[in-house]
Amino acid sequence: MKQLVILSGKGGTGKTSVTAAFAHLLAQEASPFRSVLADADVDASNLELVLSPEIVSREDFRGGQIAVIDQDRCNACGICQDVCRFDAVLDDGEGGYRIDPLACDGCAACVYQCPEEAISLHDQVVGQWFRSESRFGPLFHAALRPAQENSGKLVTLVKQQARLLALDEDYDLVLVDGPPGIGCPVISAVSGADLALIVAEPTASGVHDMRRALETTNHFDVPALVCINKADIYPEGAAEIETFCQSEGIPVVGRIPFDTTVTGAMVQGQPVTYFQPDAPASRALLRVWDEVADIIEGLAE
């Protein structure tokens, strides 16, 4: 069983459109793999908008804990405010203190320093995760409530559930739609993957953003491939990406042209390869998938 994660340094380069197309192609009869899908962009989970999944089970996700002050015990000494390094202990305007839940890191420094033992940590339900059946196979996804922490932990959980199902039911592949950036949720999404596909865009910052994503996959020892989306919008930028990849020995597995059919498909809630198989973007995605599939088959067990 292999794990393929779709990434990009910058947001909005088309990760989800690529993932949805792959999910569609993977579900075809001729596909060499059976796959489980996981949406690891728990901040802004969009894969479900294309796969129209039916939720089979839902569970609350308890994220990090936050500190709560018992006002009856508090003697307003202010030690909690002194020790907090996250600016999360605020004056309550009445000579006492209150915790700003958005700023609290759950480190418990205040809990252990409070001489009155007036502070304790409490679990927070910060989101939900779902197991769904989609028309292209099982999908694990989640919804983090806005303004919450711990998206990395939720990413780990979603991926772990997908992996367990894949192991239990002998699936060949877990396809993970990753979050943007290089921080905590991305690290969780990359961790344990066998292969990463980075969706790059040819812009003035495209090479730079892609490099940051590549440095992250490198750091965690995950081999990476690159495909260039909207490749024709700035041909010089696309050439720059290719030159860089060539010099680093990173395979460029395709160039997807700028094609408004991609947006049309999104509006219809369809993968573009299903919506209009003959559109330029669909044909390019099919070629990208063929290359990626070959590389997955070549990965050592």
């Binding site: 772990q160 690290i187 969780s188 344990g192 965690f220």
Partner: protein
């Protein structure tokens, strides 16, 4: 001597799990009597630091040797500090791996063998 083997389903006769920190179960085996039991790994869904937490779990269970696929830097240094030997395997069931361990054909590692995980 008590030995711990990383496992996905806690069974002796199915392939072992090569992930140390985030395996679902550890199979604890008494090397002399071959009595065994599976215990859920409390570090499997840790938000971070699964390797050290799993090592702590083994240390508190009195384990002297750990068998898994790869040991990342954090897991390795934790096992080393706890005086638990780290033994590397590529495939097999926990029952096979126990035999190979007792026969002395499993390789003990003296440095981290896996990439850093989150």
């Amino acid at each position: 001597m008590k030995i711990a083997i990383s496992s996905t389903d806690g069974k002796l006769d199915t392939p072992f799990n090569p992930r140390f920190g985030r395996c679902e179960y550890f199979i604890f085996v008494d090397g002399d009597t071959r009595e065994w039991e599976a215990k859920a790994n409390p570090a499997a869904s840790a938000r971070g630091g699964a390797g050290p937490q799993a090592a702590q779990f083994l240390a508190s269970s009195g384990v002297e040797a750990a068998i898994s696929g790869k040991f990342g830097p954090n897991a390795y240094s934790s096992l080393e500090a706890a005086g638990i030997g780290a033994y590397e395997a590529d495939s097999g069931t926990p029952a096979d791996l126990l035999d190979r361990f007792l026969a002395g054909t499993l390789k003990q590692v003296n440095a981290p063998t896996g990439p850093k995980r989150h």
